[in-house]
């Protein structure tokens, strides 16, 4: 997600069910083997859905959207799970719910995660446009329009590219006011 960019679009290339945990997204054995975020792309869903990478990379120019059911990203706090998805040219995950750790990790990486009431009517292959300004998801050029369930603060953080700017400002204040 680019700064001040509130439009995200792509094609639904992968659809998952409920309770996809971060062990499924990226296995533990690889987490300590690199300190570079892009490294983890090659291990996305390695033990759960080995086709994930092939599907995402089938067309180099394709922007992928992942759709999932409830509780996407549960379990371990490993942030590498976000990188593994993000660096497979996935532009967003649309799911029915996200546990907090994964949601916060995603926002901190400016990775677009949006919650909608139901994903039943978002089929594989659908063209999706996520509008964070209006908080809607348009499926197949507006054939279906879905409300994004997201509060103001989360939306602003996502659109403005995460928290780093805010944290740097806090640190600057603290350094300049310390006795």
């Amino acid at each position: 997600l680019n700064n001040n960019n509130s439009l995200v679009s792509g094609t639904v290339t992968v659809k998952f069910g409920n309770d996809i945990n971060t062990d499924y997204i990226v296995p533990a054995y690889i987490l300590q083997e690199a300190w570079d975020k892009k490294f983890f792309a090659d291990y996305a869903f390695e033990r759960y859905s080995p086709d994930f990478i092939k599907t995402c990379r089938a067309n180099e120019n394709k922007d992928n959207i992942v759709v999932a059911g409830k509780n996407f990203g549960c379990g371990s706090s490993r942030e590498q799970a976000v990188y593994a998805i993000q660096y497979n040219n996935v532009k967003a995950v649309i799911a029915e719910s996200f546990p907090d750790i994964f949601f916060r990790n995603s926002i901190n990486n400016s990775f677009c995660v949006v919650k909608v009431e139901s994903v039943d009517d978002i089929p594989l292959g659908a063209k999706v446009e996520i509008n964070l300004e209006e908080l809607i998801v348009k499926v197949d050029n507006g054939r279906i329009v879905k409300q994004i369930l997201m509060n103001e603060e989360e939306r602003n953080l996502l659109v403005s590219g995460g928290r780093l700017g805010k944290v740097r400002e806090r640190l600057r204040e603290k350094l300049l006011t310390t006795n």
Binding site: A28, Y29, R163
Partner: protein, 461 residues
């Protein structure tokens, strides 16, 4: 208005009275700790993300003399917010199991030494066990760490949250987390006594089986009632530890006499902490960190401990709990260890069953005490000898095969019964292995029989 323990703890650090659902823009934290999975990238990102801010602050400050403390050769150096409130614990795959892991641990040692941060040694133990045993985390504190099982510290009445690399790196710089919603609380009210052979693990697996993996999402799990009040600290650690398996923000128990006793024992082992800790405990007597009687809860579930049977979570979900008496699947690996179940009372329960017995010829039994303290205690008490005589492999303290990277990685076709917290497909190695979860008692009985066994027959009067 009455408050939950969560609201009270958050109110203290926020500096005002807060209630559930409120958004806290800036939440100061009390403690922060890192394992060796996340510390190396967090250290690197921390230096990159904040170097420029330090340089700018250094040049715009009038009191140039102070800046020199941070600088080397006129260059500002990024400092952590408060080294005394941070610690590093290498625990997931130590002694190092790969060159990159060893490199990461050395990076931590160097950074810790530069910054004055306490770095624990390989084998000192699993992070969540170490921080409570060593008195680093105290009742009523807000604690963040780079591991989802930070919820474990809720057992002593601390509010612990697992966070990712980026949030941890930010907290390292400022001692704060941002945009924090005060979570609702789901109260689990437990009454009655456990029957012999039944323990906290069976209770939390029963709860998980009812609420399922997403059942406590966005909420804190508070465990209370007479059963919890009578439960030792080890059982409370087990309960809080697995809160995240139902997607809870964290788990917590109201501090009480048991907590106080635990803290007194900690002080006895660490006289250097005694004045600071004693005064804190006297001040609080925990009244400021206990849920009010009329506090408001999002949900309440009541359970009778007497009706709970030994439970086993079947592959591939911790919420897939069934009574052990209904299962007799053959197994070839048993792991007694992890941040869930490898403390004093866990090892005692398992050793009582294994005493004078042999591990089944088909079973590889791994025993990994949760910390050096537990390891040395079990050695001195003869507990380790019981395991060794039975034919167990005993390893130095670390997360062990639960992390699926070393010390007993599973092959396709392996069937493992583990006292850990997650049995996701592929968690401990091959996705074609099967993982079952249980209490230490059930694990010990099953190690003897070579199949999943109800431990209650070993408790016959």
């Amino acid at each position: 208005m009455q408050q939950t323990i969560v609201e009270k703890i958050v109110s203290r650090v926020a500096g005002r009275k807060v209630h559930t659902g409120e958004l806290i823009d800036i939440l100061p934290i009390d403690k922060l700790y890192f394992n060796e999975v996340i510390a190396p990238p967090a250290i690197i990102n921390f230096q990159e993300d904040f170097r420029a801010v330090y340089s700018e602050a250094a040049s715009s400050r009038n009191r140039a003399g102070e800046i020199a403390v941070w600088g080397e050769n006129g260059k500002s150096k990024v400092k952590v917010f408060d080294p005394s409130r941070v610690c590093f614990i290498p625990d997931h795959t130590v002694p190092s199991c790969s060159v990159k892991v060893a490199q990461g641990v050395n990076l931590m040692k160097q950074f810790a030494s530069d910054q004055g941060i306490k770095m624990f040694k390989e084998g000192d133990g699993i992070e969540h066990t170490v921080v409570t045993e060593e008195g680093f985390v105290r009742p009523g504190e807000v604690v963040v760490a780079t591991d989802s099982h930070t919820d474990t510290v809720g057992a002593i009445g601390a509010l612990g949250f697992g966070i990712g690399t980026t949030e941890a790196e930010y907290a390292l710089a400022t001692g704060e987390i941002y945009d924090f919603f005060v979570p609702e609380t789901y109260k689990f009210e437990i009454t009655g006594d456990f029957r012999p052979g039944v323990s906290a693990k069976d209770l939390i697996l029963t709860i998980l089986g009812r609420v399922k993996e997403g059942g406590c999402s966005k909420k804190v799990a508070e465990y209370s009632g007479e059963t919890i009040r009578r439960m030792g600290m080890d059982g409370r650690f087990t309960m809080c530890n697995m809160s995240v398996e139902m997607s809870a923000r964290t788990g917590i128990v109201n501090p009480d006499e048991v907590t106080s006793q635990f803290m007194l024992e900690t002080i006895a082992r660490h006289p250097e902490l005694s004045s600071e800790l004693s005064s804190k405990m006297a001040d609080r007597s925990f009244s400021g960190v206990r849920s009010d009687d009329d506090a408001s809860y999002a949900s309440v579930m009541e359970l009778d401990a007497e009706k709970i049977e030994p439970q086993v979570a079947l592959p591939h979900s911790p919420a897939n709990a069934k009574p052990a008496s209904e299962i007799s699947d053959e197994i070839n690996v048993v792991f007694i260890g992890s941040c869930t179940n490898a403390r004093h009372s866990d090892l005692i329960e398992a050793s009582k069953i294994l005493k004078g017995k042999k591990v089944h010829p088909n079973v590889n039994l791994l025993v990994i005490p949760a910390s050096r303290l537990v390891y040395n205690w079990a050695m001195n008490e003869g507990i380790l000898k019981i395991f060794a005589d039975a034919g167990a492999n005993i390893e130095s303290s670390n997360c062990g095969p639960c992390f699926g990277k070393h010390m007993g990685v599973l092959s396709p076709g392996d069937r493992c019964l583990s006292t850990s917290n997650r049995n996701y497909k592929g968690r401990m190695g091959s996705p074609d292995a099967s993982i079952y979860l249980s209490s230490p008692a059930t694990a010990a009985a099953s190690a003897i029989e070579g199949k999943i066994a109800d431990p209650r027959r070993y408790y016959a009067a």
